[in-house]
Amino acid sequence: MSTLSFQEKCLYAELIGTVAFVGVLLAFAARASSTLYAYPRALIAYAVIYFGYSFVVNRRSRFKSGDYLIDERDWMIESKGIRASHNILVIGVVYLIIRIVDAPTLSATRIFNRLLVILVLSSVARIVQMLRLYQASV
């Protein structure tokens, strides 16, 4: 019997997926001659992959609800993880607004680049916070 719960397995998969996504993006950015459209495309790809994954996981957890894959403790841990993620998002967006106001000539590519970093960081913060709480058996 696995010691990891369904939620923990999903979180590890999400973490590996995020690291792989960042790795591919960095490898592409290092090789490509121009990254003009790379970040907006990467942002869209990240959003599509993330929402697709969430949709599949939600469907599975609903389908298997009779086996109690997710319960009240999982929801509590998820809410704490989302709170950590929102903190990063708020700080990141405020930072981005200040940068845009400070330097109105900031290119769209750079804005998308920073937006992508903020989204990835907030996602990683949620995953790490949730895994930390699961490890602590909260």
Binding site: S5, D71, R73, A136, V138
Partner: protein
């Protein structure tokens, strides 16, 4: 961090020869949640607490007790 709510679930479960998974299925939570409750790391909702008491056919205060922190004691 340990909760101020202590419980006798492990003892009650052992007395009935029940595994964590058996109890989890009966009360509708995951095995990991039963483990966290037994270790006093997670305080279940009132509904789950009543379901646990119902499974063991004992009153709620036989399963859970509240050890108030010193600051809360009068």
């Amino acid at each position: 961090m340990k909760s101020a709510i202590r419980n006798n679930i492990r003892e009650l479960r052992a007395a009935q020869g029940m595994t964590q998974l058996d109890l989890a299925e009966l009360i509708g939570v995951t095995r990991q949640t039963v483990n966290a409750i037994e270790l006093d790391k997670y305080s279940p909702s009132l509904e789950v607490a009543f379901r646990i008491a119902q499974v063991f056919s004992v009153p709620l205060d036989r399963v859970f007790r509240y050890d108030a922190p010193p600051a809360c004691r009068r």
